[in-house]
């Protein structure tokens, strides 16, 4: 899994965020404040420009650049959460990137920064099952499917973290926008890294 392949993963993630921007925003309007699609798209558009201008040499440098750019450009809760995730991936990436290992580090970072637990209706609900699938030796596609299943499982949940938590019972009935964008990250990995795990 070389830097070129990982860069393709990030670019595919950016493309999927742009393509699903309106859906993410619609989900966030239902239970949050309606800006998840716009904010993530702004951040990943900036990431793509930075990678165009300064191609990264190592997986670690790539993840660090992505993390710092997201922290600087996204704002809201998603900026620090995705930013922290990529910074932790940078720290966990050695010469050979083990996707299970770096995504486990990303998950730990998101938990430490956001102080949420599984079942709180957050991005963790999609990321944790994907990490578990990879740790069990399953394919990246299986991990993406696990993330999608985790995302769908957030639909009936009542949010306990983030802005959706203010709605109480009324937050049930909609998929969590963060779990939805995490699923796009895993879908992008399956598309671009699928044969290389």
């Amino acid at each position: 899994m070389d830097t070129e392949a990982l860069t393709a993963w990030i670019r595919e993630f950016a493309r999927l965020i742009a393509a699903n921007k309106d859906e993410l925003t619609a989900l966030d309007s239902a239970i949050g404040d309606g800006d998840h699609g716009t904010n993530m798209d702004r951040g990943l558009t900036a990431v793509v420009s930075v990678l165009d201008a300064e191609p990264q040499e190592t997986p670690s440098a790539l993840f660090k650049k992505v993390g710092m750019t997201l922290i600087s450009k996204v704002g809201g809760a998603s900026g620090p959460l995705y930013g922290t995730a990529f910074l932790r991936m940078a720290a966990a990436a050695g010469d050979e990137v083990d996707l299970a290992k770096v995504l486990r580090a990303a998950l730990d970072g998101v938990i430490a920064r956001g102080k949420a637990e599984p079942g709180d209706k957050t991005m963790i609900d999609a990321l944790a099952p994907a990490v578990d699938a990879l740790a069990a030796g399953q394919s990246i596609q299986a991990a993406a499917d696990a993330a999608a299943k985790g995302r769908d499982a957030t639909i009936p949940l009542v949010a306990r973290k983030g802005r959706a938590s203010y709605l109480g019972e009324r937050s049930a009935g909609h998929a969590d926008p963060g779990a939805t964008s995490v699923t796009l990250l895993l879908t992008a990995a399956a598309t671009t890294l699928g044969g290389k795990a």
């Binding site: 800006d35 716009t38 922290i71 600087s72 809201g76 809760a77 998603s78 620090p80 973290k161 802005r163």
Partner: protein, 333 residues
């Protein structure tokens, strides 16, 4: 969507250009989107930095100036600013006595200010203390949520802590005053209409002509419950009732009563509401010591209001009365 804008993508930068032109006494850093007091850093004075998503004007940039904030960071609409902005603001106002971050309790604001404080600590000797504002009684069960939201009390904290800093108090003392205001203040809001984020182009939620949303926040997020539109005296009860049952406001030196407009409600209705609020307080035996009426912490073009009550004592009243010279609040100068 009918708005006085050019391009939805440029609303904040275009507005900051106008803000800078209208207030040459302040410094606007357009690249970092921060507004800084013209004479910052003030040597020996604790610097006050706040910030948050845009769309709540005049909060926060309108409260930058002597007697209140030293700097404000403007995020995207309803989105927390990023750590780079907070770091730049902190460095710009550090006069050697430390910097207080005033943070409204929203997940994004908390995390971005936390990252900024970590970056400042790693980079420089500037001492930073954060105070989190969480006065919204509409959020009931804080054990299983992100906690109560920071709303109207933010304006009162910025004014009163600003006066304490101006007196030359230490960082710890200014932080204590800010925490005291937060712990003695409670708020509750109501929306008559939704609001329209320029980038979204349509109202954040649908609210029929005959209904209103009680327990609203300031980001166009729906409130706790939806009820039929009611006369102002009943609305005042819906807002003041939960506030009074959350904190005992009797036995002090009265309250600072703040009726805030959400952006699209005219002042005549806010004064009408203020009258209803004072009548309820009179019945409860709570004197109104000071008042603030107007749109100070808004939610774009939302119609509606919020009520904030602050249980006052001699110290808080004296700091409230101290001179202040900002675009949105000016007296005694």
């Amino acid at each position: 969507m009918k708005k006085l804008i050019n391009d939805p993508a440029n609303v904040i930068s275009d507005a900051l250009l106008g803000f800078a032109a209208a207030h040459p006494e302040l410094r606007v850093d357009h690249e970092n989107r921060i507004v800084v007091r013209g004479d910052a850093p003030v040597r020996g004075k604790v610097g006050l930095v706040s910030g948050g998503g845009s769309g709540h004007e005049p909060l926060h940039a309108g409260f930058v100036g002597p007697g209140m904030l030293d700097a404000a960071c403007a995020g995207e609409i309803f989105t927390s600013p990023v750590p780079d902005q907070m770091v730049a603001a902190t460095q710009a106002v550090d006069g050697g006595a430390g910097v207080l971050h005033i943070v409204k309790n929203y997940t994004g604001d908390i995390m971005n200010f936390e990252l900024a404080a970590e970056m400042v600590a790693a980079d420089s000797g500037t001492q930073v203390v954060s105070v989190v504002i969480d006065d919204d009684v509409a959020v009931q069960d804080s054990l299983y949520t992100a906690g109560r939201r920071g709303v109207g009390a933010t304006v009162l904290v910025e004014k009163i802590a600003g006066a304490a800093a101006e007196e030359g108090r230490s960082l710890g003392e200014v932080a204590d005053v800010a925490r005291k205001v937060n712990s003695y203040a409670r708020s509750m809001g109501l929306a008559l209409t939704s609001c329209t984020v320029p980038a979204a182009g349509k109202p954040t939620f649908d609210l029929p002509e005959t209904e209103m949303e009680v327990g609203i926040g300031i980001h166009g997020e729906p409130g706790r419950r939806r009820v039929p539109v009611a006369p102002a005296d009943e609305i005042a009860e819906m807002l003041v009732g939960p506030i009074l049952s959350d904190l005992d406001f009797t036995g002090g030196d009265g309250v600072i009563a703040f009726v805030n407009g959400m952006g699209a409600t005219p002042l005549i209705e806010l004064y009408l509401m203020f009258n209803e609020v004072t009548q309820i307080l009179a019945k409860a035996g709570i004197p109104v010591a000071r008042s603030l009426v107007g749109p100070y912490i808004t939610s774009l073009d939302m119609a509606g209001c919020s009520v904030t009550l602050l249980k006052a004592d001699d110290e808080l009243l004296r700091l409230w009365d101290a001179p202040v010279n900002t675009p949105a609040l000016r007296r005694g100068v």
